[in-house]
């Protein structure tokens, strides 16, 4: 059988020669739209940050009672600049040995006792019993992600990302090259298509996103009971069928890249994880930020996922993905850590 890419290529629903969308002169509507965009003098054009009125359902979706802004307009925000400068000053230090070594997989303590997820879910529910939440939109994440190339060995890119939401529903994202295990050392980073060493704390990007119009998960606040959270995560994953365990792990990542959960949401999430098939407790680990957690492993084809949870509150501390099958085409070896994500508070 042909390889998977070839099969998919043959199943293209709209090939480039499709007569409905084939290359050629623009249609009447397309010409009119271009004229509308180009037409008015510069001082009469819509101001940056404002949508042009659209037509039909999408236009209505994007319009609203107040002026909306596209999330795709990127501008430097003062807050991001201040945060960037502070972080860069805080983290940058004298250059010594570069921190380029690929991380090893987390090691489970041999003398530790695995805690079943059901038991941890009960603990988390107990910790959330006082009713306080602490749910906050935004995230603070440190990640080590392997980057691949067909003609070079894989490299690991350590990155810290901070997303802060503002009162007007806009948000800023700051991404910095840093490895907290090696403070002050140069860090491997990927620039315009190439990789190289940069100073610790080097700002990879800072962006401000105007207020979002979306009210769908994961933009909307996650519920704090397991049943509603399950439906919320299905919606975030664009599916109407129960989430498989790999899907649940994927969407957990999406959720935690948008929200910092409170104790009640943590407890609801652990309950869902406890109900998922194939996640087995393996014992205690110390993560790359020095935090102690309980580890749960899911074995998928070609990769192993290890979820690390706070032993008391059940909060997700990290997720590690390790290759179990080599891929010589990309220089990937079995046992290589493909990525590790540590969610900070």
């Amino acid at each position: 059988m042909a390889d998977e890419l070839e099969l998919l290529r043959r199943a293209n629903p709209v090939p480039s020669g499709d007569p409905r969308f084939g290359d050629g002169p623009l249609g009447h509507e397309a010409e009119r739209h271009l004229s509308r965009l180009m037409g008015p003098p510069a001082d009469e054009r819509p101001r940056p940050g404002r949508f042009l009125p659209g037509r039909g359902s999408l236009g209505r979706l994007l319009r609203g009672p107040r002026p909306r802004r596209t999330r795709l307009v990127w501008a430097l925000a003062t807050t991001a600049a201040v945060a960037m400068t502070s972080l860069a000053l805080l983290l940058a230090g004298p250059s010594t040995t570069p921190a380029v070594a690929a991380p090893r997989p987390l090691v489970v303590r041999a003398d530790s006792t695995p805690v079943p997820l059901d038991q941890l879910a009960e603990r988390a529910e107990g910790a959330a019993a006082d009713g306080s939440s602490g749910l906050r939109k935004g995230t603070h994440v440190q990640s080590w992600s392997m980057g691949m190339s067909e003609d070079k060995p894989p490299i690991t890119l350590p990155v810290e990302r901070i997303v802060r939401w503002n009162a007007d529903d806009s948000h800023t994202e700051l991404v910095v090259a840093t490895d907290p295990r090696h403070p002050g050392r140069p860090v491997l980073s990927e620039g315009d298509g190439d990789s190289g060493l940069v100073d610790d704390g080097h700002v990879i990007s800072e962006q401000t996103f105007p207020p979002s119009w979306s009210d769908a998960p994961p933009e909307s606040p996650p519920p704090h009971d397991a049943k509603r959270l399950r439906a919320y995560l299905q919606d975030a994953q664009h599916t109407d069928t129960p989430l498989t365990t790999p899907e649940l792990l994927d969407v957990t990542r999406l959720l935690l890249d948008t929200w910092t959960l409170g104790t009640r949401e943590d407890a609801a999430l652990v309950r869902l994880l406890a109900d998922a098939e194939g996640l087995r407790p393996v014992g205690q680990v110390t993560d790359r930020l020095g935090r102690s957690g309980q580890a749960y492993v899911y074995d998928a084809t070609g990769a192993r996922q290890m979820l690390i949870l706070d032993p008391v509150t059940g909060a997700v501390l990290g997720l590690e993905s390790t290759a179990t099958v080599a891929d010589p085409e990309y220089g990937l070896k079995a046992g290589d850590v493909m990525d590790y994500i540590a969610w900070m508070r």
């Binding site: 059988m1 998977e4 890419l5 099969l7 998919l8 290529r9 043959r10 293209n12 629903p13 709209v14 480039s16 499709d18 409905r20 969308f21 290359d23 623009l26 509507e29 397309a30 739209h33 271009l34 965009l37 180009m38 819509p46 940056p48 949508f51 042009l52 659209g54 037509r55 359902s57 999408l58 236009g59 994007l62 596209t70 795709l72 307009v73 990127w74 980057g147 691949m148 190339s149 067909e150 894989p154 890119l157 990927e190 620039g191 298509g193 979306s214 769908a216 919606d235 994953q237 664009h238 599916t239 109407d240 069928t241 994927d250 084809t301 070609g302 990769a303 990309y330 990937l332 493909m338």
Partner: protein
Amino acid sequence: MSNDETFAAAYREHYWAVSRYVARRLDGRTSEVEEVVAEVFTVAWRRRSDLPASPLPWLYGVARNCLSNAVRGYGRRRRLVDKLGHDETAHGRQIVDSPDSEQPGDWVHDALARLAPADQEVLRLTTWEELGIDEVAVALGCGSRAAAMRLHRARRRLRAEIDSMRTTVAAGPTTPRRDTPKEQRHG
């Protein structure tokens, strides 16, 4: 050339490629393509100072964001229609061809639909839009090594889905069938 002229040239050159990109992701709802493409170029117009020298992958990135919002709204409407049971198309086809058949078609889409949206998108960009890794990286807004990593993972997962469908077909009844009917998802 000024930003405005560069934009107009990109609009004329890539209008149909962007239309095909959108049509491939709207699941046969061709009547909505023109409207979504208009929104894509409206957003691109406002960001025309960012337009790179090779604008097509960048335009795909803009289209991806526009579509994710349009599709969310559609998904909610679709589920409502499903509940009401008034739309024949909502019931979907639950019988799939065998992966061993000569011509891959709906079953490949079916295997693709089982993947996470991010996996689906990197695979579509590679095969349907025929982008190279560097272009995929622009469309996804990530580095090229990260794009290669994503493609590697997505390929592995697609292969696993195809293999699992082959196993199901081999072990199952004469008429192959999905374990669980599932609405086509979008990335």
